[in-house]
């Protein structure tokens, strides 16, 4: 189940004159290109086209407002023929359900994260309100990205529940529940317990856990600082707008300087206004980083699963070892370890030969079962490690590619901002010269 290797030629970076939208599109197409070796996205175009507000009754029968998203699908070759796509509406909670199902059903996969439920780490201008249209729009993009990630995953794309999520309106929820995935979910308590008590986890997973913790810390910090920087930049640009106003008023009382001042004022207004676009572009960059921030949860989930399987294996192995020892004691009649049974038998007399024989039989049976269990668990664990590590490598490659692109696009944004600045101040300089 190796992921289809070989990204096709990365036909992306032409020149710096690309707008950010084009760059975004380029990046998306590149990723699609790369993942085209895998199934679903090659066959099907998926998009989250729109968002709409609805009202309805929630689980406690109260009226509430929520947003639904339109999922459109269409076979790829239909593009040229102009066939209208199939579509259905889904709520964010349904996306969550889908993801939880995938997490439980494919515990060895690093499952792509959903966009934020609530807007956190935003700079002041952006609303943290879930109903805010900008937030809804960014979430729409995030949900589309999620679907693309899943649809291009070599394992997940084949999942039937996922396919039905995209294509079938009715009864999807029932179908998901029918899979009984919730029963398969490991309890959090079990996982934490295992994490503490596991003795020999695979070193690579321990390392991965540390990495995902580090990445989460550093990305959180980076995003917070970036938001503060954006805030301040906004302030600087906007205050220049006051120059526009004052220059304009001042030009009214000056004869010689009037024209120069007036036009300089206009440029100051333009400068102040330009920051809105600049920061909107940067928000896309922040969203790309946020996706990987949230990915760290998925990484940790895989590590936890490994710890759990490993722990269970160790438990079973321990149990087997215990039983073996018991058998030995029974056979040789020696009591090497202190046990209540041993004590009581000493006190209250030895067992009869028949009793011992019966016990031995039971133990033999248990030993056989134990060995089976260990073999099973071993296979399970090995299988898990193998498949998980394949997906982790896939994830690492994806992450390196994506973040490299993101950093490049960040540089491009900075360049664009500098060019705008040069233009505005050169124009202003011309105006001042005329004063």
């Amino acid at each position: 189940m190796m992921a289809d290797s070989g990204p096709k030629d990365v036909a992306v970076i032409g020149n710096t004159e690309l707008t950010s939208a084009e760059l975004d599109n380029n990046i998306k197409n590149t990723m699609v290109e790369i993942e085209k070796g895998t199934s679903l996205l090659r066959k099907m175009e998926i998009s989250v086209a729109e968002a709409e507000k609805r009202t309805g009754k929630n689980t406690v029968n109260m009226q509430e407002m929520y947003t639904v998203y339109l999922i459109e699908t269409r076979p790829v070759d239909a593009l040229t023929e102009g066939i209208t796509p199939d579509s259905l509406w889904r709520r964010y909670s349904e996306f969550e359900l889908l993801r939880n199902y995938l997490l439980v059903t494919y515990p060895f996969v690093v499952v792509a994260p959903l966009p934020e439920k609530r807007a956190e780490i935003v700079w002041h201008k952006l609303s943290a309100d879930n109903m805010d249209p900008d937030f809804v729009e960014r979430r729409r993009v995030g949900l589309e990205n999620f679907l693309h990630r899943v649809a291009s995953h070599p394992v997940l794309c084949n999942d039937n529940i996922f396919y039905i999520f995209l294509t079938e309106d009715k009864d999807w929820k029932e179908m998901v529940y029918e899979t009984g995935f919730q029963a398969k979910a490991d309890s959090r308590l079990k996982a934490v317990n295992a994490a503490f008590r596991v003795k020999n986890p695979d070193g690579r997973f321990t390392e991965l856990k540390h990495y995902s913790d580090e990445l989460q810390t550093v990305l959180s910090q980076l995003l917070r600082v970036r938001a503060r920087v954006a805030d301040r930049l906004y302030g600087v640009y906007k205050v220049h707008g006051n120059y526009g106003r004052v220059f304009s008023e001042w030009s009214a009382i000056e004869k010689e300087m009037g024209d120069g001042l007036q036009s300089a004022g206009h440029h100051m207004d333009a400068y102040a206004a330009s920051v809105d676009d600049i920061l909107e572009e940067e928000e896309h960059y922040a969203d790309q980083l946020k996706e990987y921030l949230f990915y760290t949860d998925a990484l940790r989930a895989v590590c936890r699963k490994h710890e759990l399987t490993q722990f269970e294996l160790e438990m079973v192995a321990l149990d087997l070892a215990c039983k073996k020892q018991q058998k030995e004691e029974l056979v040789t009649g020696t009591v090497r370890t202190f046990s209540l049974k041993g004590m009581t038998s000493k006190l209250f007399g030895q067992e009869t030969a028949e009793q011992r024989e019966a016990k031995l039989q039971v133990l033999e049976q248990q030993l056989k079962e134990g060995e089976e269990a260990v073999k099973e668990k071993n296979t399970e664990s090995d299988e898990f490690v193998k498949t998980a590590w394949v997906d982790i490598e896939r994830f690492k490659d994806q992450k390196d590619r994506d973040l490299k692109e993101a950093l490049i696009s960040y540089a491009v944004m900075q360049i664009s901002m500098c060019k705008k600045g040069i233009q505005v101040w050169t124009n202003a300089k011309e105006c001042f010269n005329k004063m």
Partner: protein, 467 residues
């Protein structure tokens, strides 16, 4: 009644100023200095003259632009203010500045002077200049105290800012055709500390100054009745200008504040990329690259803010003070006119008095005392006539004073406007240039980074093709 004024002598000034040198002006038409000023298209007529030559107020209206060009050959006096030193005495601590003068002017005995002056001395000089030329526009001094902000009186930045402003003040005085001829100015530049102290003690005493202040207050309370239209226009302009420049000052200071806060956050931003690079393998180089770019942009931002603080902020602040100076000058001009009007009214009253029928109390009183009514009336007439003559003389003087004050102001007004335009234009120009430079430098930083990234993808695709 118009008067030709031949000498630039303020009625209250006692020092000497060369008489009208209009004869010299004809020579200057062939002067090399013409080149310096020829690019000024705002000249009213062809009257050009050396910046340091004093002229009569009438021709001041046609002054040409004074450039701050230090290399200009037309300047014959160069002043620097530097080397602040702190002095500690039993009573106080204060700073003195070294004032260096190099000059070829004949009224100075030497060609070079080096003295130390403290802020109080500058204040004294400004006061003297304003007293002597109440309607000339004297460039403002930096403020006595800093009202807002916890700026220590002796902090490096504060001293440096003040030093520059003091230098500007002296340079402006030196450039002024009338003010630079002031004896007080000469003494300020050349006298040793003790000499200056002695010199300061001369001049009108405290009481006479008090008397002048009282008169000024009385006049300002009275108000001027027939202000010429042009001065009302100037006053309206000054009001508006004062508002605008005040706003610009505030806006610029706000920008500096925001920019500094931006810089603070930016300084924390770069290191997060470095921190991140520690956890990555493939991305490490790139992340460090981004961190480096942000760091370099930080340096550029720091420089840009510095430039703003050094270049634009002080100039705007200066002109905020200028606006206040202008208001004061206009008030003083008004007071001079008010005084003249008051005396005129007094004269009219006296005349009415004299021509009135002598049925006044004085006559009654006189007759009670046994005076001959004819004689009393005659005495009264004589007295009033005398007073009227006195008044007329005073009024003549005051009228001269008003005309002189008006002309001085008119002349200096044009000159001030040109300086203002020049100063503000150059300050804004410099700021715009610096901002262009700032963005160009940041652009280069990011483009270099981008270039380094784009050479790599070709290696990438090779690597990824191996299974």
């Amino acid at each position: 009644m118009s008067r030709t004024i031949d000498a630039v002598v303020s009625p209250t000034q006692t020092n000497t100023i060369p008489a009208d040198i209009s004869g010299h002006m004809l020579d200057l038409d062939e002067d090399d200095d013409l080149e310096v000023f020829s690019k000024d298209s705002t000249l009213a007529d062809g009257n050009m003259f050396n910046a340091s030559m004093p002229t009569s107020p009438g021709s001041m209206v046609n002054q040409c632009k004074f450039e701050e060009d230090e290399e200009s050959d037309s300047k014959d006096i160069f002043i620097t203010v530097d080397n602040p030193e702190s002095h500690v005495t039993a009573i106080e601590t204060f700073i003195t500045y070294r004032v260096l003068t190099k000059t070829t002017r004949s009224e100075f005995d030497n060609s070079e002077y080096e003295v130390r002056r403290r802020y109080q001395d500058f204040l004294w000089l400004k006061g003297k200049l304003e007293d002597a030329h109440s309607t000339l526009i004297v460039h403002p001094l930096p403020e006595k105290f800093v009202v807002k902000g916890m700026v220590e009186r002796f902090s490096g930045d504060f001293i440096e800012t003040r030093r520059k402003a003091l230098h500007k003040f002296l340079t402006r005085v030196a450039d002024h055709p009338i003010l630079s001829c002031s004896e007080d100015f000469k003494v300020f530049l050349s006298a040793q500390a003790w000499e200056l102290t002695t010199y300061k003690k001369q001049g009108p005493g405290f009481l006479s100054r008090m008397g002048e202040t009282v008169r000024a207050v009385a006049n300002s309370v009275r108000g001027v009745k027939n202000r010429p239209e042009e001065f009302t226009a100037i006053q309206e302009y000054v009001e508006d200008f004062s508002n605008k420049i005040g706003s610009l000052d505030k806006v610029t200071q706000r920008i500096v504040k925001e920019q500094k806060e931006y810089l603070e956050e930016l300084k924390e931003y770069g290191p997060t990329y470095t921190l991140w690079s520690g956890s990555e393998e493939e991305l490490a180089e790139q992340l460090k690259g981004v961190a480096g770019c942000i760091e370099r942009c930080c340096k550029e931002t720091e420089e840009q803010v510095g430039h703003l603080s050094d270049t634009l902020v002080p100039v705007l602040h200066e002109y905020v003070l200028c606006a206040e100076t202008l208001k004061a000058v206009l008030r003083r001009r008004d007071n001079i006119q008010a005084e003249f009007e008051a005396k005129n009214e007094a004269l009219a009253t006296k005349k009415v008095d004299r021509d009135a029928e002598s049925s006044d109390l004085g006559f009654v009183w006189g007759s009670l005392l046994g005076k001959n009514p004819e004689e009393a009336r005659h005495q009264r007439q004589e007295r009033l006539d005398g007073e009227i003559e006195e008044l007329k003389e005073e009024i003549d003087k005051l009228e001269d004073r008003v005309e002189w004050a008006n002309n001085a102001l008119k002349g200096d007004w044009g000159r001030w406007q040109r300086s203002m335009r020049g100063d503000l234009k150059s300050a804004f120009l410099s700021t715009a240039e610096k901002n262009v430079d700032y963005y160009e430098k940041c652009l280069a930083v990011w483009e270099t980074f981008l270039l380094s990234q784009r050479t790599e993808p070709s290696e990438e695709t090779d690597r990824d093709n191996t299974p």
